[in-house]
Symmetry: C2
Subunit: 473 residues, 2 copies
């Protein structure tokens, strides 16, 4: 610790909990009430102390009519950062209602990465209109960013950064920043608002090192920058996928990183605040995909939501038709012994659930890059073994219950046998299906679940009813 | 942009892709081979260029025997940061094998937050041993951190930070840091290795503002710190839950934040690199919980994995026994019409899947605090409506198929009717169950799924078989 100043503390009234303030229910309701009363002054008063991220939340929570009324009140001094924080569906609505003029003004004020985030979501016409209403310089920056693939480093990066030539010293660097800060007031140079490190570049503008500001501040003025810079740095190629970028930031504990073009020249930087959003987004996406929800549809209209979820349910239906076909092959058997109809869903469900446990672990292992190709054999055998272990446990429990319930030890045996086999299969397939999908370049978070449950349903019904036909009828 | 230096770029050979290096399969195999050949020198050579996070990955990927052999090779200069990056199960193994002496040395070298992370995972005995082998000062810091609840800000924070009194100016602040840096070499003062902002404190050591380093660097020496500091800052109470901390960092785009004790005094700081881990962890946890996996068990032994997953499967079994009891009430009906046994799983499965889509959206909305209490009615009716819409669609498709398959329009009608009702219910229950669990302070990510599928199974079978008994028999 390094506090130069430590005096005994007195008592103080302010509870620190208050500092952790964010938008609460009462304020949302108060704003809604003020909007209904058309009391613009009161609305402004209520919104003024809020952080822009909270204003975004407020807009999201209001009903559509109130959203528009609120935007009308805020329009004269609408904070463009709000746009960047909005849920996609709501942002579309707000952007449309704000109109091109306000939007262009907002885009001009934002850092280039946030501006790109807003513009990339517009449809082609609106994009054209907005780009035509901003300065040629801003337009060039945004158009270049849009030329990079979606979800690539080029979209995430901001152009604003601080770089210095490798023959400078610490004093020159600090003076340069102070000078730029002065110039900034006359709107000449564009320093980023906040930055965490300075990039040292060679004569071809290729990064050769970085200096964290905390090190720069602790170094005496005459020291050359090459002497304090770290030269083992993580460069991000402009076309790198954002998932990969997030992985590197997390793995290397980075706060910012230089982005380079294919010739290795420094063209931008990515900062951790944007990466935090990506990490959350990517994990969120995987959760949603595994449940068959294409994206967070909290704010979408019902018809739109129903449409988005239809595909997944359609796949579920196909699975179940396949399972029904299997069952229909054994109608005579079921006719002989109705108890089979009572028990058969258990075999399928236990296999499906055990398999989904495996699928989830494997899918996330791929997502977080914890799964080397070489360990596949070990993993498959482990998961199959886990399936057998739990299969034996549940077979013993459920087999006994079934034997007592329907007074047939043979029926209990058949049920238990089918459960063990199906749960072992669930472990095998739960590992192999995601692995195969990855090899086929199909996203395992989306496809592995339906494939898996189809196999455990089909096999579950087939094993149970087949063994019943063989041994019991 | 603010590059003072821009010369035309030449061509350059180095591909920037190389910079994005992380541990590849070949290196893992090369290390394993070198370990098998007992070629310690070659192992060291292979490990030397790796980042500590990659060394952690390497350790994770090796078989247990090789793990120990590698640790023996690395022991003389074991990088303590590696411990912090390891998966929990593997860390336990490594910590045990390293032994108390090396562990104590490692803990002394780490920043206080990372040291706590390692020590908190030890069992009571080992903790005691390690704490006894380190300096009284380090011990006090770690013991204090351990006194805060698990997953609280107190565990996440580091004690190392830079704070200055509010009557200083920029020049004094910079000189103080340079001086501390000098002292650092004699191991006197402890500045954090990297930091992003300076905290300004009043005479009671309460934070009154923060200055991002980038602003400090751009300000002239005579300016008082109170003039450049931001006084609207986010303070973190030491007992705040880490999930809440992560939310604030994300919402406010923070890179670091002051942690205060109940009297409002500055006692530490949390930096974004630790929060990034928390964000990933929390999202990961929710994915795992929803699939009934208690935590990532990739590196756990099969018996341990089976045991951890047993609970969830047991709940699944209870659900299915309940469903079986419902089916058993309709054995006479099924006996009359075996087609019912063929079709009944479809009704249950479609309801279950539709309901899980809703549950996932609602659970995540709670996790990301996007769900205000006031909007519940709107959401429930939306989800029920979505259920009806998709229910009608699938009822039409599947009802027709069933009618043609079993040559009975009435059977098709009953199937369709049951599907519409069950999917509407899935929307209702998928919203209400997580909401009720949140009110009961039960984690909806764990419990909502099993509850939901129990209701959709029971209702699905009951509706379909019940309506069939009424209309078809």
């Amino acid at each position: 610790m390094s506090e130069p100043h430590q005096e005994p503390a007195g008592t103080h009234e302010s509870a620190p909990e208050e500092a952790a303030y964010h938008l609460d229910e009462e304020r949302v309701e108060a704003v809604a009430a003020a909007l209904a009363a058309r009391d613009a002054a009161h609305v402004k008063e209520l919104v003024a102390p809020l952080h822009y991220a909270d204003v975004a939340d407020l807009i999201e929570r209001l009903e559509s009519d109130n959203r528009r009324a609120l935007i009308d009140v805020l329009r004269p001094d609408f904070d463009p950062e709000v746009l960047h924080e909005l849920d996609e569906t709501v942002r579309d609505e707000v952007v449309e209602y704000l109109g091109v003029k306000e939007l262009a003004a907002a885009v001009t004020e934002l850092d280039s990465d946030d501006a790109v985030l807003v513009v990339e979501e517009l449809d082609r016409d609106e994009q054209q209109q907005v780009l035509e209403s901003i300065s040629a310089e801003d337009r060039a920056v945004i158009e270049e960013a849009l030329s990079y693939p979606e979800d690539s480093a080029g979209r995430l990066m901001q152009r604003e950064l601080v770089s210095v030539p490798s023959n400078w010293n610490v004093g020159q660097t600090i003076d340069f920043m102070r000078q730029s800060a002065e110039d900034d007031k006359t709107d000449e140079a564009e320093l980023p608002e906040v930055f965490y490190e300075i990039f040292v570049v060679d004569k071809d503008h290729r990064p050769v090192g970085t200096i964290p500001l905390s090190r720069l501040l602790r170094t005496r003025r005459p020291v050359p920058v090459t002497e304090v810079m770290a030269n083992k740095m993580q460069m991000i190629p402009v076309t790198m996928d954002q998932e990969e970028v997030a992985f590197l930031f997390r793995q290397r504990d980075l706060v910012s990183a230089p982005v380079v073009d294919p010739d290795g020249r420094l063209i931008g930087q990515i900062t951790v605040d944007d990466v935090v959003d990506v990490i959350e987004e990517e994990a969120e996406e995987d959760i949603m995909k595994m449940a068959g929800v294409s994206e967070t549809d909290l704010y979408a209209r019902p018809v739109e939501t129903a449409r988005r979820r239809f595909h997944w349910l359609f796949v579920t239906l196909l699975n179940n038709i396949l399972a029904a076909i299997v069952i229909s092959q054994f109608q005579t058997t079921i006719d002989h012994m109705v108890a089979l109809a009572v028990l058969m869903p258990i075999v399928a469900a236990m296999g499906g659930n055990a398999g989904m446990q495996t699928v989830t672990v494997i899918v996330r292992a791929y997502a977080t890059k914890e799964l080397p190709a070489g360990s596949m054999l070990r993993l498959v055998s482990k998961e199959a073994f886990v399936g057998i272990l739990n299969g034996l446990g549940f077979a013993a429990v459920m087999g006994t219950i079934a034997a007592l319930w329907f007074k047939s030890a043979a029926l209990g045996g058949v049920l238990g046998g089918a459960m063990v086999f199906n749960m072992m299969w669930a472990g095998l397939a739960g590992t192999l299906i995601p692995a195969a999908l990855v090899r086929l370049k199909v996203d395992p978070a989306v496809a592995a679940g339906p494939f898996l449950t189809t196999t455990t349903d089909v096999l579950g019904f087939f094993l149970f009813l087949g063994m019943a036909t063989w041994f019991l009828i």
